[in-house]
């Protein structure tokens, strides 16, 4: 067989190989985004349904002092869609990890770390794209954020960090659960309520004691409060994190990454390997 005459180029150190493999595998993940549009639909359809429901069905009964409900709602929706991104990344990962192709990669001289980072990168891009779609939809419906240039940059940076951290969390959960259905279950039981209590649709201050207390320390609440402050100049309060939402959000992202990244790598290397 004449393929044997072509020697593969295996020069370069481990770091070079890692970067190379990660780029190749990330390109592979990105290619499947337009080919599996239902995956993107998963992370965009729910926020869009919630926008329509709350704007045109429940919204007339909700009054928030000092701001139109439309302007109050959209920062909440952005926080919610980011949280739903965890479910999206988890479902996609639990699907991908059972594919035979992952076994082929693992039996090849491919950096193992690159398999997991490319999974995160692919999901990260997909979640960012989903968020852009939701924001554009909001702008079409007449959301009018009051953004200065500096605030715009800050918002972009914080959102990117948030999507990055939440994607890692989703990828970890996707590897821990046994099936995509189980991931949907976890999403519905844990992430769904947290996304609702985060001051997404109604102010936290008016909630009952238990949900209010949870909301005061809900990471998604910090996110929603950050977006609301930057886009509408509305300051939330009630707990330390709501008083300092941007700092709180960065701390949350730091904690999530510090916990999820090592656990995800460990899970991939050990449990899936033995």
């Amino acid at each position: 067989m004449s393929t044997t005459t072509i020697a593969p180029n295996r020069q370069g150190n481990a770091a070079g190989r890692y970067v190379r493999d990660t780029l190749l595998l990330t390109a592979r993940s990105l290619r499947s985004i337009p080919r599996v549009p239902e995956r993107l639909l998963d992370v965009t359809i729910q926020p869009i349904v919630f926008i329509l429901l709350f704007l045109y069905v429940f919204g007339s009964a909700i009054h928030v002092t000092g701001i139109s409900y439309k302007d109050y709602l959209f920062p909440g929706i952005i926080g919610q869609s980011l949280a739903f991104g965890i479910i999206g990344a988890g479902v996609a990962t639990s699907n991908d990890m059972t594919e035979g192709v992952i076994d082929r990669f693992r039996s090849m001289p491919v950096s193992r770390l690159s398999i997991i980072t490319s999974q995160v990168m692919g999901q990260f891009c997909e979640a960012l794209l989903g968020m852009v779609i939701v924001i554009v939809f909001g702008l079409i419906l007449g959301w009018n954020p009051q953004l200065t240039f500096a605030h715009g940059v800050e918002l972009l940076a914080l959102m990117t960090l948030g999507v990055f951290a939440f994607t890692w969390m989703g990828v970890l959960l996707g590897m821990l659960v046994r099936s995509p259905d189980a991931m949907q279950g976890v999403g519905f039981i844990v992430i769904f309520p947290l996304a609702f209590m985060a001051g997404t649709f109604v102010p936290i201050a008016g909630m009952d004691l238990v949900p209010r207390t949870i909301a005061h320390w809900d990471p998604i609440a910090a996110l929603v409060a950050t977006v609301r402050e930057l886009t509408e100049g509305v300051h939330s309060s009630g707990s330390w994190q709501l008083d300092h939402p941007a700092v709180a959000m960065m701390l949350w992202c730091g904690v999530i990454l510090a916990v999820c990244v090592p656990l995800a790598l460990r899970r991939f290397n050990h449990t899936l390997a033995s």
Partner: protein, 346 residues
């Protein structure tokens, strides 16, 4: 990198447990370079677990294995450079096209763009992929997928090619195509470890067969040795009803050595001479004018082998008829979900 004097696979006492379940128990395996060895056994016998340990995907709980002289645990990276694994279920990205998959695998193996193109085009020609090269893998038939899968496994001529149930779920025609491809590779001197549920397949392709069940070796030898223990093929004649069975048994007994299985209304005749024996039996039946449902040449199955060697059957009949008779497989059927789950858990 490759120590050519070493055997391709040297495994001693490999053991793997999943919780309380022992998937592979104290299994030895020796494969000489340039030979084809088949692991033969029913579903859940531990074939896939064994293959995954050898391919560095699972860490053995006990025992050790070397591939081309490299230890699968301590030198896993080396092992990955000399093996190529084609898993039980097409190990391709189903959202990429055939050609995109091949390109990705070549690039991951360290080839530059230019050499990737040369290699991929050659594989496309060799495996007859041209016609569906730009179709997404998820839209390919089982046989087409297998061809791409095999091609992807041969990007750098591997020292050891591992094929895990390469024809499970394929229709008979695709199976023949895969077999002839494998034969070509073997003729070129590729060392091959092949797992299969089909005695026929091991017989057709392997120099040596290791029969395993419940993670243990039951028998090992050349296909001829194994078949000698199992018994020869036979012609089965199924009578139309009970009355016909009696007459059939009497008529056939005049000319042949017969065995009668009443529950199946079947009279069996040993048929070492293939079609000639079949024709003689059919002629006798025709001349007698007895009504029969079926006359068929039957080759010994995996179940027969188990029965002969262990005194019990595989016990797979109930949930997995395909394991017994490859001809009964629905041509385009994907592997059933239960198989898939087992494949992962094995």
């Amino acid at each position: 990198m490759i120590n050519s004097s070493a055997a391709s696979i040297e495994a001693e006492g490999l053991t793997k447990r999943f919780g309380k379940f022992t998937a592979v128990q104290n299994l030895d395996l020796h494969v000489d370079t340039g030979t084809v060895v088949s692991l033969l056994g029913p579903n859940g016998a531990g074939k896939t677990t064994m293959v995954r340990m050898l391919a560095t995907l699972l860490r053995p709980d006990a025992g050790r294995a070397r591939i081309a002289g490299h230890d699968v645990v301590s030198e896993a990276d080396r092992v990955r450079q000399v093996i190529s694994l084609t898993g039980q279920f097409a190990a391709l990205d189903k959202n990429l096209t055939a050609v995109e998959n091949l390109r990705l695998m070549a690039r991951l193996r360290g080839h530059r763009r230019s050499s990737t193109r040369t290699i991929v085009e050659e594989l496309i020609g060799r495996f007859d992929i041209e016609e569906f090269r730009d179709r997404l893998v998820k839209n390919l038939s089982g046989g087409q997928r297998r061809r791409v899968d095999l091609a992807a496994g041969l990007i750098d001529r591997p020292h050891l090619l591992v094929l895990d149930e390469p024809t499970t779920g394929l229709d008979p025609r695709s199976r023949q195509v895969v077999w002839s491809t494998i034969r070509e590779l073997v003729a070129e001197g590729v060392t091959l470890l092949l797992t299969t549920q089909y005695l026929e397949e091991a017989d057709a392709l392997a120099n040596r067969v290791v029969l395993i069940d419940h993670g243990r070796e039951i028998a090992a030898g050349t296909p001829a040795q194994l078949k000698a223990q199992v018994g020869e093929q036979r012609v089965d004649v199924v009578a139309a009803d009970g009355a016909a069975l009696q007459r059939l048994a009497d008529v056939l007994a005049e000319h042949f050595t017969t065995t009668v299985t009443r529950e199946q209304r079947t009279v069996s005749v040993p048929a070492p001479g293939d079609a000639a024996d079949l024709a003689r039996v059919a002629e006798t039946v025709r001349d007698s004018g007895i009504a029969v449902d079926e006359i068929a040449l039957r080759r010994p199955t995996l179940d027969d082998a188990f029965l002969a060697l262990t005194g019990h059957t595989t016990g797979a009949d109930a949930e997995d008829p395909e394991a017994i008779d490859p001809q009964r497989i629905d041509p385009e059927a994907a592997p059933p979900e239960s198989l898939r789950a087992e494949g992962v858990a094995q």
